[in-house]
Symmetry: D2
Subunit: 193 residues, 4 copies
């Protein structure tokens, strides 16, 4: 039986870089991975993009009503044919999975015997978990923190939404970075200040 | 600034024993701790009880509408008078805190500068988090797993509710162990079987 | 294949209590454990003793020239006869193992397929590792810290040797607590002061 | 007071990538870091090189008789002049530090109040720690594992040295990858086989 890992971290903690590194590690040994990204995340389109400058196309762009276990099972069958067996499933922006898809990720680990490593945010700009991250926090075999630092030097655990007029706690949960809105990882004290 | 820790684990992972050990460690150095338990947990009445046979009375039996930060602040003032400063707040059965009380626990760490260590279950018998554990998973500075094992030898992550007629996924979220209901920590595979 | 865990911590971090709790957890499920202690540790004689007041006799009091793997294999055979299979090997004061015995502990995990959990100090009163802990730090599958706090409130990582005339960095590596010598877990800053 | 972190992992666990990501994270916030590499590591010359394709010049190429604390203090003074304060010291290939330099790294954390993150191998191709990693395992405030996988799918913890004629346990401790020698991260079972 394999495991479902949730590697959570605040904005800019290096989650996509870490994911791409893990993919690289498997492939150096002639094993394949499946890269998954929820379609809700439109940043980078069909790519996983790391701020270090590395980028790569996903294998499954998962719509909110699609079944992750079935999508992986199909890929698994095809890859077995090519002789490069799939060794791992890597999910970027996993906070955007639906709770049902997280349960399917657990099933991939248990019934398809593939380790699943889900990278994502723990909470939104109001310190509430996303539906996907809440379910991952409940059922992942292992919770591993990706650390990053606040401007003040402490460990950042929250994500502040910043607009031209300062920090805001208003608006919809999902609002991808763009001209007028950006995010900053902050420690609890700076966030609450 | 101090931190809020959530040490989560399945049933019987030794959470209360660990809590009592930490209390003992502080007191060996002539520092005081505050033991807190949500009043909802009627097992052991006003005591923290460890299955290893150690037991101890709580300092704050916290009703669901009480404010944890205020309750701690009052104790902190009193203890300072006695010359044995309070060095830590320890919370047993922390899954039974209300979300507002978890936010107050974070404030105790940040504004009263006392480390808060909350021990509790991650999820209930249906793999859903309790309101208190959901909030702790969102805002704790550090998530630390207390490990225990399933009957099959794997790490247990879920809690099955067992009755005389077997495993059940029916009933209210809180149902303290008694004659006809008991709980068993299980791995994901045994739980889903 | 099972794993070798090294749960290291400074003096008084609750290592023996945690060990006894794990033993209790297995036995609640009708599984047996093997308790091991190096004979070099004469404190508590043939018992594992926790400062919380719990105590229990060891199954193997391991002399420095004995082979841990062979000693465990003999116990494993006997227990299988009684119908209560051994599920885990627990080692107290593991810093006193010889490096060869640590390699044997790894073999127990790999070849006898028994998880081995070794509890011990990371370093001595001069911040040098013991021969057993050095080898455990090198080969354990997983290093897990048992935390405790310094008098100043920071995490303790070192062990100061105190005599009637203050802190000393002189003397032999092993000197069990007695009238004139005692130990205190300290943070790096207090230790170096 | 800041902390000394040892992020250890087997070959190809993504240590240099993680280091470069951390550097990037600080710089996005207009803070500076100091990159250090022991001069013994001649691979990549004066650069930290990640297998993902990212590379960057070090700030201090540390000879074996140089004092790390002094070298950092000089850089710290200079940077303060430029208005971009140094927020972190990052060390690549930290297994090649001398034990004295590790003690100096601890002093940088304590007395210069700069977090020091040391990335390195835990052990050599014979499962013996390097002098630098042995000392880091003894004195680091926090030990954090960088995980990677063995060809067989288990977690890799050892580093096998491979030549054209197979695995070898002969030769000097330091032998940088070249035509005839290469390394592979392996789990304990594959390593011992």
């Amino acid at each position: 039986m394999s495991k479902l890992f949730f590697r959570y971290g605040a904005m800019n903690s290096g989650k996509s870089t870490a994911l791409l590194q893990v993919a690289h590690n498997y492939e150096e040994r002639d094993q394949s991975v499946i890269l998954v990204k929820p379609a809700v995340d439109t940043k980078g389109k069909t790519n996983v993009v790391s701020r270090l400058g590395v980028s790569r196309q996903v294998d499954i762009l998962l719509g909110p009503s699609e079944n992750l276990r079935e999508a992986v099972a199909i890929k698994q069958t095809r890859h077995t044919d090519t002789g490069k067996p799939i060794a791992c499933v890597l999910i970027d922006e996993a906070q955007f999975l639906t709770p049902a898809q997280v349960d399917q990720a657990l099933e991939v680990a248990i019934y398809l015997n593939l380790p699943v490593i889900a990278y994502g945010l723990r909470t939104d700009f109001r310190t509430q978990s996303f539906p996907g991250s809440q379910r991952l926090l409940e059922v992942a075999h292992t919770l591993e923190e990706m650390k990053t630092i606040c401007r003040c030097g402490r460990k950042a655990i929250f994500n502040a939404r910043l607009t031209d007029s300062g920090k805001t706690k208003e608006g919809s949960q999902v609002m991808i970075d763009e001209g007028t809105v950006r995010y900053e990882a902050q420690c609890a004290e700076c966030y609450l200040a």
